[in-house]
């Protein structure tokens, strides 16, 4: 099996789906001639031409709205946000139009489209470029939210997202683009809404997604030294959530820690904890712990930026707390 980067996996998914379905096209800033701001669309202009790989002006609200209109009339757009921070310019289109169209038209107008791009903090890019928006998107009925952590997951899920008949928010991560993993040459897809146990364990369920899985894996290694066996659960999709997988893990471990890179108040972890309490309260031997970003906008200065974000020591401490281990 060839080892390819997360970035290449995304590229393959788009290329394969565009080969398969002539209604699929890519639109966004610098996706064509520049080969993508993060080179995710490398070579796609050359392969598909400017009709299907479309560079736009810096007009997020309107090119997102354009994609919604195109989707309502039979195309399957992939919108690339240079970063999800800039999707905020298009929030009205996403919230009021993409998410609501099918419902308020009484089922007449599905909006089959993908909105993808990197999300989450980069490195020292300060407050306006460091948003984690998944909890906002997940709050809106009508949207699906996918956040893969590996190239394998990214490829399989992006192909499913493109084939899905709903607007799918597909949040990648800049700091994952360069990481490699094995990805089969044969065609495959992964279902939206199905998570995966990334590492088996018996003492505690550690739920993390996207880049936070790297921290979770590191924490797991450290905790092993202390004799604590950690099971890492990656939901891969935030909405719909694979509660079944999570509950199954908790029935084994009876303890849970949820890590998310975004802010705490109204975060994804709050929703997951609520669902877990409702599904398997009796199984829990300790209250769920959450590790999140602190409640401040992200600063530029390195040390206080790091102190604002979830860290391996915080995850280790949270696991020890739920295990009553000191």
């Amino acid at each position: 099996m060839p080892s390819i980067t997360y970035r290449e996996a995304l590229n393959q998914a788009m290329v394969e789906e565009m080969e398969r379905d002539p209604t699929v096209f890519l639109i966004g800033e610098e996706v064509a001639e520049y080969n993508g701001p993060y080179k995710v669309s490398q070579g796609m202009l050359e392969r598909f031409g400017p009709r299907r790989v479309v560079d736009t002006p810096i007009s997020e609200a309107s090119f997102t709205g354009l994609a919604i209109g195109a989707a309502m009339t039979g195309l399957r757009p992939i919108v690339e946000f240079m970063s999800f921070n800039f999707s905020l310019m298009a929030f009205d289109q996403i919230f009021s139009n993409a998410a609501k169209m099918l419902y308020m038209s009484g089922g007449q107008f599905p909006v089959p489209m993908v909105m993808r791009g990197p999300g989450g903090p980069g490195s020292q890019v300060s407050s306006q470029h460091s948003n984690c928006l998944e909890s906002l998107f997940a709050n809106v009925p009508g949207l699906k939210v996918v956040m893969p952590a590996t190239g394998y997951d990214a490829k399989g899920l992006l192909k499913s997202a493109i084939r899905d008949n709903n607007p799918v928010i597909f949040i990648e991560n800049e700091l994952l683009y360069g990481l490699s993993c094995d990805v089969p040459e044969e065609e495959y897809t992964l279902p939206i809404g199905v998570g995966e146990i990334k590492a088996a364990g018996s003492d505690v369920t550690l739920l993390a997604y996207s880049r936070m899985l790297l921290l979770a894996a590191e924490a797991r290694g450290e905790l092993e030294q202390d004799g604590i066996s950690v099971e890492i659960v990656d939901p891969r999709t935030i909405k719909p959530l694979d509660l079944e997988l999570i509950a199954k893990s908790i029935r084994k471990t009876h303890r849970m820690v949820i890590v998310e890179e975004g802010n705490r108040f109204g975060g994804v972890g709050a929703e997951i904890a609520d669902q877990v309490y409702r599904a398997c309260f009796d199984e829990l031997d300790a209250p769920i712990e959450r590790v999140t970003q602190k409640e401040n906008p992200l600063p530029y200065a390195k040390a206080i930026e790091a102190a604002s974000l979830p860290s391996v020591p915080e995850i280790v401490a949270a696991v020890k707390t739920v295990c009553y281990h000191n």
């Binding site: 520049y34 002006p57 810096i58 007009s59 306006q128 401040n296 906008p297 040390a303």
Partner: protein
């Protein structure tokens, strides 16, 4: 050629949009207006403006180097090539006027008179920086100098500047709001919405489009349906002009006249300044979408060299003095680096400060 709309509605000025001409500064080719302007400015002010341009260039060169040495992180958008714009425009403003700009804010902040050491400290993420180390390169703010920010979201500052103009009208002051934006930012919704309100309510905002001809890797031709960006003013019944942004005197003259008029009778204006950035969009962009010849063409009309030549021709600053000035500025920037390096990082408590106002 662009169409030249000359019909004006009852509210608008007469609108004509000739392409700005590029005539590098030289004693022999000075226009009458420029000669008059030079007389009004005098030697000292022109030398001062020259010094400011050199300071910006020198600051940016050092910042670039410090980034390469990993003393600076995040994004870094350099201003080299655009110095005449910041210096020319801001020389025409009063200290109580307001300024808002994009993330490409180093030149504007320096031209406003913010000390280089405070800006370098911000780039180094130190507590002594203009934004306390929390903003970094893209987010220079100064309450003292009425700098309403460097803004990271393309177009984000456009309505902010409108707000400052609204306040001037509300308080019945004669302050001006100068709001700078890039050519790429002209295609954001907020630009059109703000232009309309500015004209509708006759707000004293001067929008300056720093047309450096690219938004990241996308040239204006590929992003914008008209070539002459100033022309867009006509859609809102607003005065608009296009000028040569490599020419310091043109930048100063245009702004000076625009400001003078608006102090007496408030109205908005759109100034398109044709300029060029020598570096890539940010430090991580090699800028391969531009040819060497294109860059060389602009290097030939370098805004700083133009003024330096003029100063020599006028016998206002000889070669030796110019060299000494360059060196003094370079030393100052090195001092700024030293200040930044010796400054403390923000303490942990700063992380939680300023999330909410007291």
């Amino acid at each position: 050629m662009d169409p030249v709309p000359v019909k004006s509605s009852s509210k608008s000025q007469v609108l004509a949009f000739p392409e700005a001409e590029t005539t590098p500064l030289s004693r022999s080719t000075l226009t009458r207006t420029h000669k008059q302007l030079l007389d009004d400015l005098g030697r000292d002010r022109l030398v001062e403006m020259y010094r400011k341009m050199v300071e910006i260039r020198s600051f940016e060169q050092r910042a670039e180097q410090m980034y390469q040495q990993r003393k600076i992180g995040g994004y870094l958008h350099l201003y080299m090539g655009q110095e005449a714009v910041a210096v020319g425009l801001l020389a025409a403003l009063r200290p109580d006027d307001y300024v808002a700009t994009s993330y490409r804010d180093h030149g504007i902040a320096l031209a406003l008179g913010i000390r280089a050491e405070l800006l370098m400290a911000e780039l180094f993420g130190r507590a002594t920086g203009v934004s306390g180390g929390k903003g970094g390169s893209m987010h220079f703010f100064s309450k003292e100098k009425n700098l309403l920010g460097g803004h990271g979201i393309v177009g984000g500052q456009i309505p902010i500047g409108l707000g400052a103009a609204f306040r001037a009208q509300y308080m019945e002051t004669d302050q001006i709001s100068l709001t700078l934006l890039g050519d790429g930012a002209m295609n954001q919704s907020v630009f059109h919405e703000s232009m309309n309100m500015a004209a509708l309510w006759s707000l004293p905002v001067i929008y300056v489009v720093e047309n450096n001809q690219y938004g990241m890797g996308t040239s204006v031709e590929r992003s914008t349906s008209v070539k002459n960006l100033a022309m867009r003013a006509s859609a809102y019944g607003m005065e608009g002009v296009q000028i040569d942004g490599m020419n310091l005197l043109e930048c100063y003259r245009t702004m000076h006249e625009a400001v003078k008029k608006r102090r007496e009778s408030p109205s908005p204006m759109l100034i398109e300044v044709k300029t060029y950035r020598y570096r890539g969009h940010s430090i991580s962009d090699p800028g391969q979408y531009r040819s060497k010849e294109e860059i060389a063409r602009y290097r030939k009309i370098d805004p700083i060299t133009q003024v330096r030549r003029l100063l020599e021709e006028l016998d206002w600053l000889g070669e030796a003095d110019a060299k000494a000035l360059d060196k003094a500025v370079r030393d100052e920037i090195m001092e700024a680096v030293k200040f930044a390096e010796e400054s403390p990082e923000p303490e942990l408590a700063a992380r939680d400060r300023d999330v909410y106002a007291p």
